[in-house]
């Protein structure tokens, strides 16, 4: 039974999270708590922070890599059923894998040439 197997994994994870929970609760029960004003400010290498929030504009490039990642991730998922059946239908699979890889490589080369992969 397939679902049975996932149930075992679920039980395993529940067991693990119970242990994590016990550790967190034990620490909560044992630890001292003496908050002071300095402790509760953001950590900034000895200086007082310039503003309370640190949500400011980051380098936009992070987002662009995430965008490329989504497309490539879908391609990896398409690859997996293909390579799985490679042994049973080698010729068709070989042509398709080559085609798919070449198309993918073309996209990669395009992004590369356009400089989207540069981290300046």
């Amino acid at each position: 039974m397939l679902q049975q197997e996932y149930l075992y994994v679920l039980i395993f994870i529940l067991g693990g999270s119970a242990m994590v929970l016990v550790a967190m609760l034990a620490s909560w029960a044992l630890r001292p708590s003496k908050p002071s004003k300095a402790k509760l400010t953001p950590y900034e290498c000895g200086e007082l922070p310039a503003q309370a929030d640190s949500y400011f504009q980051f380098n936009i490039r992070y987002y662009l890599f995430a965008l490329l990642f989504v497309v490539f991730d879908v391609e990896v998922v398409f690859f997996i059923p293909l390579v799985k059946v490679f042994n049973s239908i080698p010729v068709v699979a070989f042509i398709e894998i080559t085609f798919f890889t070449v198309v993918l490589a073309f996209g990669l080369v395009y992004a590369w040439k356009k400089g989207a992969l540069e981290w300046e």
Partner: protein
């Protein structure tokens, strides 16, 4: 013995949980001792005989330290993030086969869940690891944390692609995604590192990047980011991030072993004429020894290689590893088709 059979999965769950949680203290000790040897110093030697009780002292210290929750954090996510850190590792660990032992003349796999899509499942759940770090860094509301978290998320994404592509060759050779099938294939046809050397190399490199270990630990980069995503964390929550790191190392080692180092296989043991029951147990020990070696390897590399610069890291991922992985797929296909 017969009456025990229905409870075997639960026994395995219990045994593997204990194994899993005992790995962390052992790893802390190994990390400190090996670091000391590499740097030509003594390392911890005060607590217990030869400093062996040091991990217990560390754990007690984590328990008893004050837990500072600063005013500016987003409280619920701040508390939730460190617990989330261990989950992907538990998910992966649930499908790793640790060996095949004979009970009543029946071969039984030491494995919690036998899924049909083994490796794909592992890839999927290990992609959840990004969440703990992004949540932790965002909830901390600290500039160092945020930069560390963003770096880490972008790094883990960039290396997930070559990781996914690097195992394609192995799937192509074996024709199955089940981890136990892959190990059995290696027992018959030789280890994966010989069948797929490029794939193995790519997988090991990306495993280092996915676990955020040196030389890929730009998320923590003490010199520039103080502590990265866990700058604002203290006490047990900080310990959880550490626990997560070691758990991830352990699962990464297990994956490397299953995919490329023959899993529980010991070379030439079949021709020694031993009792199959004993062979089973020897091979479980062999699996654990392989894992131990890989964990040691993680620490060894940590003190041997300097940290990358961020642009170098991204270049390596996108411009070298991904093309190499694609080439590996094509070349494997050509060799297989011939």
């Amino acid at each position: 013995m017969e009456a025990l059979m229905p409870f075997l999965p639960y026994i395995f769950i219990l045994v593997l949980l204990v194994l899993y949680l005992s790995v962390v203290p052992i790893m802390i000790q190994v990390e400190r001792k090996v670091s000391a040897w590499v740097q030509y110093r003594i390392g911890p030697n005060r607590v217990g005989p030869r400093g062996l009780l040091q991990p217990i002292a560390d754990a007690l210290k984590f328990l008893a330290k004050e837990d500072v929750i600063p005013n500016h954090v987003n409280k619920w996510l701040y508390i939730f993030a460190p617990t989330l850190m261990v989950f992907p590792a538990f998910f992966v660990f649930g499908v790793i086969p640790f060996g095949a032992i004979m009970i009543n003349g029946q071969e039984i796999l030491i494995q919690v869940g036998k899924t049909n899509i083994g490796i794909l499942y592992v890839l999927a759940v290990s992609s959840l690891g990004v969440y703990a770090i992004t949540f932790g860094s965002w909830a901390s509301n600290n500039k160092y944390s945020l930069i560390g978290g963003l770096r880490s998320a972008a790094q883990m994404m960039s290396y997930e692609l070559p990781m996914g592509l690097s195992i394609l060759g192995m799937i192509m050779v074996v024709g199955s995604l089940r981890l136990e099938d892959i190990v059995r294939f290696q027992i018959e046809n030789g280890w994966g590192i010989l069948l797929q050397p490029v794939g193995a190399l790519l997988f090991i490199v990306t495993a280092f990047a996915e676990t955020n270990r040196l030389p890929f630990d730009l998320t923590e980069a003490e010199a520039e980011l103080v502590g990265g995503y866990h700058t604002e964390y203290s006490s047990m929550k900080f310990a959880m991030f550490f626990l997560g790191e070691y758990c991830n190392m352990f699962t990464a080692s297990a994956m490397i072993t299953c995919l490329f180092l023959g899993g529980w296989h010991v070379p030439f043991i079949g021709s020694m004429g031993l009792d199959p029951a004993i062979v089973g147990y020897i091979q479980v020990v062999a699996m654990l020894m392989k894992l131990g070696f890989l964990m040691f390897f993680f620490v060894w590399v940590r003190w041997s290689l300097p940290r990358f610069r961020y642009d170098q890291l991204m270049n390596l991922g996108w411009k070298k590893l991904i093309p190499l992985a694609l080439a590996n797929v094509i070349i494997t296909a050509i060799v297989m088709a011939m």
